[in-house]
Amino acid sequence: MSAFVSTLLRYRVAVILCLTLAAATLIVPGFASLTTLSLGLDRGSTIGLIAIGLTVLLIAGQIDLSVGSVFAVSGIVGIMLQPALGMGWAALAGVLAGTAARVVNGFLVVALRINSLVATLATMLVFRSVAHWMTASQPIPGNDIMFSITLSEIYLEVFTVCSGLFLVSILALHVWLTRTVAGRNLFAVGSNALSAEASGISAGRIMFLSFVFASTLAGVAGVLQSLATNTGSPVYGSELTVAVIAAVVVGGTRLEGGRGSALGTLGGVLTIAALTTAMEFQSVPAYMQQVASGLILILLVVLDRTVRTGRRKPAAAPVHA
């Protein structure tokens, strides 16, 4: 019995995903189709790309609340520079803007030793302000409306550019986390930064690089979203933070660091995507979708917490220094 339960818990992502899909298929007529799959993957890829970066950060024991703001800033930069630089270079600049943003975060957390939650809370506010400041709080249109059509073109009946990129990245992440030394070091730092440091792993460097990695991916997601909608808007991504954290946590990545997997995140992203797509099909209002992703987040974190405390001695309150 307990073996069954623990197996169930280990593969709970798959269980949750299957349950979600089954429920959606039953409730929403015509849900089980290739079009839905393609649509779900496409919208999942936006939170998915950010979730990849966040998975790495969470494994390293850090968190980033500013992903939504970085997402907006990169998108705006990507659109704004189009007349000056042309589309390709502008997109690159947008991604680089994301990287730069997280160099700030990494600096605050690693060099100044500010708790990552607080640091990114502050930078979330700062980057959001930057986004409003750059655009004067107005959405700005892009140059080339045709390119957004190219982006949403469907290949092989399922994949778009975004979802293809997302799937390739997550497979690359899986290989990186499970097959390379750098990936193993990441887990070591996340489980116990001090012991990792004592074993000759530079914890600070790894944390810093995870911040840069996460930001770059948030930047990529922001630029892709802006190109796909042909607009840069300062309010983009404000509702993303909870959804992305929910997706990663559904995937079994632990908030305290040291545990997580790329495939888990893939499952989590697909679950959230399936859920939101299904709710949109049923024209559930946006705020109810927010309730759903919030509920999933809380439930999963509680489950994670109680299962672990059930096995071992109750852990003391989380102390982050």
Partner: protein, 332 residues
Amino acid sequence: MTDIAAMGQTTKDTARFSQGSRMVGLVSRAGLTLAILAVILYGSLANPVFFTAGNFVNVLMSMSIVGIVVVGMTFVLVVGGMADLSVPATIACGAILSLALQPYIGPVPAFAVAVLLAGLTGLVNGVLVGYVGINPIIATLGMGTIVLGIVQAAVGGVIVYGTDPSSADFVKSRILGVPMIAVIFIAIAILGNFVLSRTFWGRWTIATGGNYSAAQASAVPVRAVRAGAFVITAFAAGFSGGLLGLTLQSARPLVGQGYEFSAITAVVVGGVSIMGGFGSIPRAMAGLVFVQLLTNVMVLQGVRTPIQGFVLGLLIAGAVALDIALRKRGVA
């Protein structure tokens, strides 16, 4: 031999450090007062409107709404709960429900129900953080999303308007020239200060934040104390939201947006440690006064809103970095 040498080294270090820290301690104590005076001085010189009774009443009004939240948030930070990000949701809950329920049950019961429901959110937050042991920021972020969604669903996602002008008149009335809202805020601040610095609950709060295990070993009900801080914040935010709704006589779902940051900024700038175990209501209030006056000067000088947000974000990061630097030198 080496041990003794090391011990001698340590004593010397301690002596040198405590001397250095007296200077740093003085700066950390007087710094905020100086900063407030500097802002007042700059404001008075730069803008003729700044140093007038009318402007100060305005500052006091806007300070009061945030200030009530700040009182609660101080408890959360002192207990080591880092931050309560569900504040925008609880404010919206207070504001929307206290207006939306007016036609059905009258203004006073509506207000009470709104504040109670907001407090209920805090109870859930508290159970999640204190008893289940979830990271406070994640718990409150998730709860905030849920509560905001539910409140929006309850009123159909629209703006609600007040139906009882007399309740607005009460909130806008003045006692000896001081706005009613400010009187309520000051009363709550004094009450909060009393609880934090004079009662067993306050001592427990500080002990839990300072050293969780030690407090637990000393038979402090640490879980309840941690949970309590979030309940207090939610009640405060709900109350403040209700007052905000009555003042504006309209409430939209995003009415509370940004208040969590204003409150956290005020508390952190006031020198309350984000790592818990240290802080007081007067310090948080000093931080609040500084931030509000700074914002006021920026508004009067025509600084654009995004840049104001930028400055506030920098203030949080700077204050926290300073706190960590001071802790390293043994001053808290």
